[in-house]
Symmetry: C2
Subunit: 106 residues, 2 copies
């Protein structure tokens, strides 16, 4: 059925690559619950400061997350609701209930 536009495939695979990494996916999962500052993300993900910062930069440049300075901390949030949807589906697929305690808690 109608050929799938090559450009869309390209963009979609690029988007997937942007979240197809343990640290980055972990960040997104944590950000689902609301904005967090870098230091908390370091603790949450277990990545090193520099490493996490680089992963954040990558997702920032892809428009997946955005940041905002509040006092001494920089807070990150999910900027693109579509990625939130994607992570939701992933959670649904890969998390055996445990991850979805109430199913509604923005």
């Amino acid at each position: 059925m109608d050929v799938i536009p090559k450009e869309n495939i390209q963009q979609a695979s690029e988007g997937l690559r942007a979240i197809a990494h343990e640290v980055r996916l972990s960040v997104l999962c944590h950000l689902m619950a609301g904005p967090m500052c870098v230091n908390d993300l370091i603790k949450a993900t277990g990545a090193s400061q520099s490493n996490l910062s680089q992963h954040l930069a990558k997702m920032r440049m892809m428009g997946i997350i955005s940041n905002e300075k509040r006092g001494q901390q920089v807070y990150y949030r999910i900027a693109n609701p579509e990625f939130l949807e994607l992570v939701h589906v992933l959670k649904h697929i890969y998390c055996p209930e445990a991850c979805l305690p109430a199913d509604g808690e923005a």
Copy 2:
């Protein structure tokens, strides 16, 4: 909110990586419409025979697709309905209506 199991993150990111490539994603998109043989997938994706075969092998080993010999051809199909769901969401996100002609046509 409750810590996300590291193992799940790991599996999810591995699953994402398995489809985060133009050729592999293209294959999955085409297989959504039903099984196809390798030769048709070569034409559909534009990849070389060897290259496509390698991508198919990777997804086969991840349990995403399965194959079946019919006469001289080997037919591939999506073996894991969860990945079908994932691709659906991707299409929804990245394809501007054009890709979803009727929305129901297994």
